[in-house]
Amino acid sequence: MRINGVTIEDTFAEAFPMTATRLIITAADRFWALRAAESMTGFATSVIDCGCEAGIEKEISPQETPDNRPGISVLIFSVSGTQLEKQVVRRVGQCVLTCPSTSVFAGMVGEKKVALGSQLRYFGDGFQLSKVIDGRRYWRVPVMDGEFVCEESTARCSAVGGGNFLVLSETLNGALKACESAMGAMKQIPNVIMPFPGGVARSGSKVGSKYKALRASTNDAFCPTLRPVTNSLLPAGVGAALEVVIDGLTEKDVAKAMRVGINAACEVGSRHGLVAITGGNYGGKLGPFHFHLRELLQ
């Protein structure tokens, strides 16, 4: 299968189950809402060592936020509800509570809860106030610029982490161009984030390592410099490979983002030496979600 002259390899990308939540961060203006969201989702590229994967989903207009202020929607993914709650409380406490003028609200509803204001309220040292409005409880924590408003809890749901595709190009520049094009298109898709810097990882990993302490190590089969000394999976002429990683609330969301991303990458990449698109296939060892590239694009 070829799109714009780019080969779509007959393989599948593996993804694994996660649990996720959405938060709405609002502030006096877009600048501060964005600063808080960027800070909160920083150092959250991979659950392997960050504790969670997080990213900005989209900007929200004042008409759509609970307090009629500019808002940012962020998605946070982790391996368990306990771990997710730990990360959410830490990140909101250190990055949103601290950011001037911000408030934070639940971005989804559901039975399974993730603590938010119920934990953070203690920062108020007894001066915190709660308020129930339309059945939702908010905590008001006095801070130096007024008050920090935080919803009691948010909900969490089952999600899919680690959806991916690999961009194989003749040159690094060509691979970057293809990825940038993919990112531009995928950012428009709701319910997904691309947690790595710019949405792209150059250090794609394989499961396991020769060193026992490591759970993952460099994906040598896709490293151009190791082509002569390893069982390389790089086609001839490929000089650089980059991996686009996607976390989504459902399998369908991840599939949609992959489809849109691959099409966008092929459209631009074909003019810049893009050779092929493949998937992170670990022989079924990584997870139960298998995204067959050719099926996605049909």
Binding site: D67, S103, F127, L129, V132, I133, D134, R140, G146, V149
Partner: protein, 289 residues
């Protein structure tokens, strides 16, 4: 829809309880079964059909026609559905109501919504003493839901109120929010002091305060200061739909002032005023002069 109309019968009664005569309960019964339900009239258990004509018309819910001023506990135990009273109601309106909607076209007696736990109650007339307040011997008043009063409120509105929202469109008599524990009381017209005596927590939102309000507020409240409250837009979004456009227009672009109390009991309740910038609500100036 089930319609109950008072019968023109010989004899009279002092008080009647319509506790547990709820829309969801009646809609599951036939007219004959409803007539045989027992209600308390002057502490005697009698069939409902002795005092009420029961009929059924198109639509859903329950409607009480005529004056029910001596009928207590209307809407008591409601757990959904709609109840429309086309006249006055007696005491203990919406006793232990958990959800649903009650609309009263007339006035309500004492203890209206005192034991409200959820749902939406709207009284187009006046309400008597202790509305949303704790019942005698109880430590907590209204515990949830929304209670809207279009007329005036007699004394002790929201005394010991625990949770929920009260919106008073008309004048509010003295003693409002005494020993209030939590919740929100919005007052759109004149309010008599003292206000919030012994208040622990909760919010009093005054939409039409007089410039002298701070002078007459309970002594245990702090001097009012202008402030920006991040939570106010949330509260405003929650109550805006219940307020008439004239009130909404009147408070637009007004400044927010806040006073905390009752500090005499260590309370952290708040009284918030929306007022024009030229109004001075702090006593700082008077201290200087």
């Amino acid at each position: 829809m089930i319609v109950l109309t008072p019968k023109n019968v010989v004899g009279n009664y002092t008080r009647m309880s319509l506790n547990r005569i709820t829309p969801s309960r009646l809609e599951a019964l036939t007219v004959q079964q409803i007539e045989h339900l027992h209600i308390a009239v002057d502490e005697q258990s009698v069939p409902l059909g002795r005092w009420w004509d029961v009929s059924e018309i198109a639509g859903s819910g329950l409607r009480l026609c005529g004056d029910c001023g001596r009928c207590d506990e209307i809407g008591g135990g409601m757990e959904g559905g709609t109840l429309h009273v086309m006249g006055n109601v007696g005491e203990h309106l919406a006793h232990n109501m958990r959800s649903g909607t009650i609309t009263v076209d007339g006035h309500a007696g004492r203890y209206a919504c005192s034991a409200l736990k959820g749902g939406h109650v709207e009284v187009h007339g006046d309400v008597g003493e202790f509305a949303a307040a704790a019942l005698p011997g109880q430590s907590r008043g209204m515990r949830g839901g929304v209670f809207i009063i279009h007329g005036s409120c007699d004394r002790w509105l929201a005394a010991r109120m625990r949770r929920g929202t009260v919106i008073a469109m008309g004048n509010v008599a003295d003693g409002c929010a005494s020993r209030m524990i939590a919740g929100t009381v919005v007052m759109a017209a004149a309010v008599e002091s003292p206000l919030g005596v012994g208040m622990r927590r909760g919010t009093l939102l005054l939409l039409s305060p007089t410039p002298e309000m701070s002078e007459r507020l309970t002594p245990g409240f702090t001097s009012a200061e202008e402030c920006e409250l991040s939570y106010l837009p949330l509260l405003w979004n929650g109550i805006e739909r219940y307020l008439p456009p004239t009130v909404i227009k009147a408070v637009r672009n007004k400044r927010t002032y806040r006073s905390v109390g009752d500090r005499a009991v260590g309370g952290l309740g708040e009284c918030i005023w929306l007022a024009d910038s030229h109004c001075s609500y702090t006593d700082a100036q008077s201290l200087i002069s």
